[in-house]
C-alpha cells in the first residue's frame, strides 16, 4: 500500500497552517488542515491521517483534549504537539497524553522535516510488528492444524479399513478375526483420543483464548452440556441434574473451550460414579465471582491423590478404574482453559462418598462502550 501519507495540521493560526502545508507538500506528503480542535477531530475521523500536528493553545477544544481524543479515533495516528508556549511542564504533559514528539514554535522547515520523518518511521515499524505478530499467530494455528491432520489422517485411514472389513463388505469375517480387529480398533481409538488431547494442550495458550472472549450466559452453556450428557448418564444409570440459578450469569469466555471444560467434568462425574448415583450441577455467585460446582456421588479421591488430579497424565490407578478409558489429560486441559479465562478450578472430595469440582470465573463487566 504505497499511498501518500496524509499529515493533518491542526492550528488556529492561518499562517502556521499554510507554511506547514507548503513544507509538507514539498516533501511529497498530502497536507490537510483544520482551524480548530473540533474540525481537526472530524477530519481525523474522515481521513485517518498518518500523523497529526496539534497546536496546544487553541480556542474551543484545547490541544491536550484533541491529543486524547485523536487516539480514540485511531490509535495508529502519530500525534506531534506544536506550540508557541513551550515549557517543560507542557512538554511532559503532552508526552504523558500520548504525543510522540514536541516541537516548539518557531521551528525551521528542517526541524519539521526531521520530526516528521522520525514519526513516520516509527509508525511503519509499529505496523510491521503488528503484521508479524498476526502472521506468527496464523502460522502457529496452521502448524497445529497441519500436525493434527498429519497425525490423524493415517489412523483414520486404518480405522476406515476396519469398518469396511467388519461390515463384511470385503468377504466374510470369522469370529477369531473379528475379535482381533475389534481389539485393534479400540487401541486405535485411544491413540486418536490421545492425539486430540495433546493437540488441545498445544492449542490452548492464553493468547488464543483471550482473542476469542465474548459475553456468554454460563447457565445456558451448562444447560446445553447437561442435555448433551443425558444419554451417557442413562447408560451409567446416574441421575444428572442442573439446579437453576436465579439470575443470569454472564462471563467473558470462549464458548468452545468452556464447553470442553464442563463436558470433561460432567462426563468424569458420570463415569466415576456409583450405580443409582447422582451428578448435581449448581451455579452461584460469590463476591462477583461465578462458581459452577459439579458434584458426584462417586468413589471419591483420596487425600494423597487430591493435589495431583490436575497434573498431566495423572489417573487414579485403582483396580476398578481400569475399565474407564481416558488419557489423563482431561483435567489438565480443563485447568489450562479455566486459568486462561482468569479463573480457577478446585476439587473437594470424600473417599467413598463423592467429589465436587468447582470452577470459578470472574463475572463479565456490563458493557460500557
Amino acid at each position: 500500500m504505497a499511498e501518500t501519507p496524509i499529515i493533518l495540521v491542526i492550528d488556529d493560526e492561518e499562517a502556521m497552517r499554510d507554511s506547514c502545508s507548503l513544507i509538507l507538500v514539498k516533501e511529497g506528503f498530502r497536507a490537510e488542515t483544520a482551524e480548530n480542535g473540533r474540525v481537526g477531530l472530524e477530519k481525523a475521523r474522515e481521513l485517518k491521517p498518518a500523523l497529526a500536528l496539534i497546536d496546544l493553545k487553541m480556542p474551543g477544544l484545547s490541544g491536550f483534549e484533541v491529543l486524547e481524543k485523536i487516539k480514540d479515533i485511531d490509535s495508529r495516528i502519530i500525534p506531534i504537539v506544536i506550540t508557541g508556549y513551550a515549557t517543560v511542564e507542557s512538554a511532559v504533559e503532552a508526552m504523558k497524553k500520548g504525543a510522540y514528539d514536541f516541537l516548539p514554535k518557531p521551528f525551521t522547515p528542517d526541524e519539521l522535516r526531521i520530526i516528521i520523518r522520525r514519526a513516520l518511521e516509527r509508525r511503519k515499524l509499529a505496523m510491521e510488528a503488528e503484521t508479524l505478530r498476526r502472521e506468527k499467530k496464523m502460522m502457529e494455528e496452521n502448524f497445529i492444524t497441519m500436525v493434527s491432520h498429519q497425525l490423524r489422517s493415517p489412523l483414520v485411514a486404518v480405522q476406515q479399513y476396519f469398518e469396511v472389513i467388519l461390515a463384511g463388505m470385503v468377504g466374510s469375517v470369522e469370529d477369531a478375526q473379528k475379535d482381533m480387529i475389534l481389539r485393534a480398533r479400540e487401541r486405535l481409538e485411544s491413540l486418536l483420543h490421545l492425539i486430540n488431547d495433546w493437540l488441545d494442550m498445544a492449542r490452548i495458550s492464553r493468547g488464543q483464548i483471550v482473542d476469542k472472549l465474548k459475553p456468554l450466559a454460563l447457565e445456558k452453556l451448562l444447560d446445553k452440556q447437561v442435555e448433551f450428557m443425558k444419554p451417557l448418564a442413562q447408560e451409567f444409570k446416574v441421575k444428572l441434574e442442573l439446579r437453576p440459578m436465579k439470575k443470569t450469569a454472564v462471563v467473558l469466555g470462549d464458548e468452545q473451550s468452556l464447553e470442553q471444560v464442563f463436558s470433561n467434568l460432567i462426563s468424569n462425574a458420570i463415569k466415576y460414579n456409583k450405580p443409582e448415583g447422582s451428578v448435581i450441577i449448581t451455579l452461584r455467585e460469590e463476591d462477583g465471582i461465578l462458581v459452577a460446582d459439579v458434584a458426584d456421588t462417586g468413589i471419591g479421591i483420596s487425600r494423597e491423590h487430591l493435589p495431583l488430579v490436575f497434573d498431566q497424565f495423572y489417573r487414579v490407578s485403582r483396580r476398578e478404574d481400569q475399565k474407564i478409558k481416558g488419557t489423563g489429560l482431561g483435567l489438565a486441559i480443563a485447568k489450562k482453559i479455566v486459568e486462561a479465562h482468569n479463573g480457577s478450578i478446585q476439587v473437594a472430595s470424600e473417599p467413598g462418598q463423592g467429589s465436587t469440582f468447582s470452577v470459578r470465573l470472574p463475572k463479565a463487566e456490563p458493557e460500557e462502550k
Partner: protein, 134 residues
C-alpha cells in the same frame, strides 16, 4: 429400466477411496473417483453423478468448501447445482458443539450433509439413500 445411481467420490486419500468403494458397490451404486478439485470438475461434467462425496481436507481446508460453493452457486456448474453433496471429514465432532462450518463466516453455501471419518457403512448408505430417494 433405471440405471444404477452414480456416486462421485472426491478425496485425495487413496485409502479412503479404496475403503469406501466396496461400501458403495454393496448397495449396487456405480462409483467414480477424483483425487483433486481439477479432476473433480472433469468428472462432474463427464460422468454427471447423482451424488457427491466430498472430502473437505484436501490440500487446504478451503478446497472442499470452495468446490461445494461453486457447484451450488456458480454459472459454470448450473446443470449440476441440485446434485446432493455430502462432506466427509476427519475433523471430529467436539462435545456439545457441532463442527463449525467455517464457510458460513465467508458467506459460502454449504453441503447437504456431513459425515465424520471413519464412516460407518450403514450410516453412509442410509444418508445416501435418503438423498437419492427424492
Amino acid at each position: 429400466m433405471n440405471k444404477s445411481p452414480k456416486i462421485l467420490v472426491i478425496d485425495d486419500d487413496p485409502d479412503f477411496r479404496a475403503a469406501v468403494t466396496p461400501i458403495l458397490k454393496s448397495a449396487l451404486y456405480d462409483v467414480v473417483m477424483a483425487s483433486n478439485p481439477q479432476e473433480a470438475k472433469e468428472k462432474i461434467f463427464a460422468e454427471k453423478p447423482d451424488l457427491i462425496l466430498l472430502d473437505i481436507m484436501m490440500d487446504s481446508l478451503f478446497d472442499g468448501f470452495s468446490l461445494c460453493h461453486a457447484i451450488k452457486t456458480s454459472a459454470e456448474y448450473t446443470d449440476y447445482k441440485d446434485t446432493p453433496i455430502i462432506f466427509v471429514s476427519a475433523v471430529k465432532e467436539i462435545a456439545g458443539s457441532r463442527f463449525q462450518f467455517k464457510g458460513d463466516e465467508e458467506g459460502m453455501v454449504g453441503p447437504d450433509d456431513y459425515i465424520d471419518k471413519p464412516v460407518r457403512p450403514d450410516d453412509l448408505l442410509a444418508r445416501i439413500a435418503k438423498f437419492l430417494k427424492k
